[in-house]
């Protein structure tokens, strides 16, 4: 079997330890993440782990790709430390505010620029935006078949993979011809811990930065301006706790509580 080239798309998301620092821009309806420490989107680590396992079995090259501000170099170094071979940071002011369509267009342009890629892996959704749209859109831009919710992945023979996808009550198993885009869920594997040797090696691995100029993308379809998605509203839910006294006889208390819960919109 020929060694495979696998691209893994990773996204920096706010570190869960710093969620309290993330705000919402009332004008643009986008998240204000500036200055918040980031981590690699957890599911993207599963995607990277899946790629590394394939490379360990069948040989090849794993490239990580991220469209993000310059600080994401840190996240890409971490991916290199985990074991990826090369990293590409797609960074340009013109990309800022891009919706999933614009983002996937830029990612697709970068993947094409990498040369023949056999497999593109992503996390199923990001921990911040959580739209779960990018991977499918990526598949469309590239003209590759795409599958979501992958909980198992195996190379069967040259150019053919088996993908197990998780549904609510069952698994659906696909055989997919490569190249393809697959997005993975948490249960597919347990991402490895990074070794000190990995951290040292990461410093010597290639990390390339591509700007808008380096990619064949039309500026009109980029950034906030070029993004067709306009969030109607986005708000922070009120998580404050209140104490309410129910002045009803003991035998009616349970019913009264149920009523309150239903009135608050919870279906019981």
């Amino acid at each position: 079997m020929n060694p495979m080239k696998i691209a893994v798309c990773i996204k920096p998301v706010p570190s869960p330890d710093h969620y309290h620092q993330v705000g919402i821009d009332p004008e643009t309806k986008t998240l204000i993440r500036q200055g918040t420490p980031t981590v690699i989107n957890p599911l993207d680590k599963n995607a990277l782990e899946a790629a590394l396992q394939i490379r360990e079995k069948h040989g090849g090259v794993v490239a990580v790709v991220s469209m993000a501000p310059p600080f994401a170099e840190e996240n890409l170094r971490e991916a290199l430390a985990m074991g990826a071979d090369e990293a590409y940071l797609l960074s340009d002011r013109a990309f800022a505010g891009s919706d999933t369509l614009a983002t996937s267009m830029v990612l697709a342009a970068a993947v094409k620029k990498l040369g023949p890629v056999d497999l593109v892996l992503t996390g199923n959704e990001s921990a911040d935006g959580g739209t779960a749209q990018v991977s499918a859109q990526l598949g469309e831009w590239l003209g590759y078949p795409h599958l979501m919710h992958a909980c198992g992945l195996e190379v069967m023979e040259e150019g053919l993979i088996r993908v197990d996808t998780a549904r609510e009550n069952c698994r659906v198993v696909y055989r997919v011809k490569l190249p393809a885009v697959v997005s993975v869920v948490r249960t597919i594997n347990r991402p490895r811990f990074t070794s000190l040797m990995g951290v040292i090696a990461a410093g010597k691995k290639p990390l390339t930065v591509w700007s808008c100029e380096d990619l064949p993308v039309d500026r009109c379809f980029l950034g906030l301006e070029g993004s067709p998605t306009k969030a109607g509203d986005i708000y922070q839910p009120d998580l404050s706790r209140r104490c309410e006294l129910l002045d009803v006889p003991p035998e009616e208390i349970a019913g009264a509580i149920l009523q309150k819960i239903r009135a608050a919109g919870l279906q019981l």
Partner: protein, 380 residues
Amino acid sequence: MDFSFSKEQDLLRKTVREFVEAEVAPMAAVWDEEDHCPVDVFKKMGELGFAGVFVPAEYGGAGLGYTERAIILEEIARHSAGLAMFLMTHHLGVAAILEFGGEDQKKKYLPDLASGRKIAGLSVTEPTGGSDLGNHQTTGELVDGWWVLNGRKCFASNSHLAQVTIVTARTGTDDKGRQSLTAFIVEGGNPGFAPGRKENKFGLRVSIMGDLVLNNCRVGPESILGGEGRGQRVALSIISEVGRAGMSAISLGLLRACLEDMVRFAKERKLYGKPISSLQAIQFSIAETKVDYEAARLLTYRALALKDAKQRCDVELAMAKYFSTEAVVKAAKRNMDNMGGYGVLNDYPAGRYLRDGLAGLPSAGTSNIMKIIVAASALA
């Protein structure tokens, strides 16, 4: 002057933290309660390079330095000071071979130790007093080309686990009539060498500590580490530069644990309708702990910058060890004070921090001994 860590060191800290939060934090309280030493976790740490962090790559290590070692110990001690103590003591044996061993000894021992396949220890202290190094009762005699060691060591960390232990013994007297010590590499399985009593410690549990008994233990001359009669130098150098650095780093982890827990508790606990973080007394104790943590951090990493630059750092490490270990005890008590009655419940780690902090005081030399070293340098 640059007080920042390199990008590589930041990444290293992040990856170690991830490991510790996943594999150590959830178990730390149970290990402490059961005094369980998780050798399997040590093996995993070995695979990740922690066991040989400062060992050059040619001997199977990660090829980093003592600063990176401290980062690792700090991160582990944030959740389990006992586990950090286990690793830190392993490093004592590893450093002794790396810094004083001949090429053959390094090639023979370091690859297994750096990868965590084998565990090391350093046993100097005897029942006649850890502070009184010149009063060794353990003897080494050259008989028919073999060194025969006899005596009892105490307070040896990793005593019941180590396959490779550096042991000091009295092998003669120098020209001034003082004891001359020699350091030997003694392997587990030697019929004359066995662990004795295992101590039941109230702090730094998880890390095993006990006696080592040498009963006509025969070792070949190739086991001598650093040269005959040079054992005092081996012991003092490793204890002062690697042992005290380790205790300082472990203290940093404990100080951060106290600080983070104090902040969280102060924000959650409500009295008089408000979180107790609004009480100035609570704020002050948080401020004191924060200053202690930052000061300990500066002392420790500054001393280690000297160590990694191969400069003298014994006094700097004595200051770091003295300040940071004492600071933990104060911070842990403040944490308990702020928690009121909850502070004494074993459901919280507050009591463990205090126990671990107290157990750290004598390890690698008591505070009095640290002050003697610092005073001697100030008065010189």
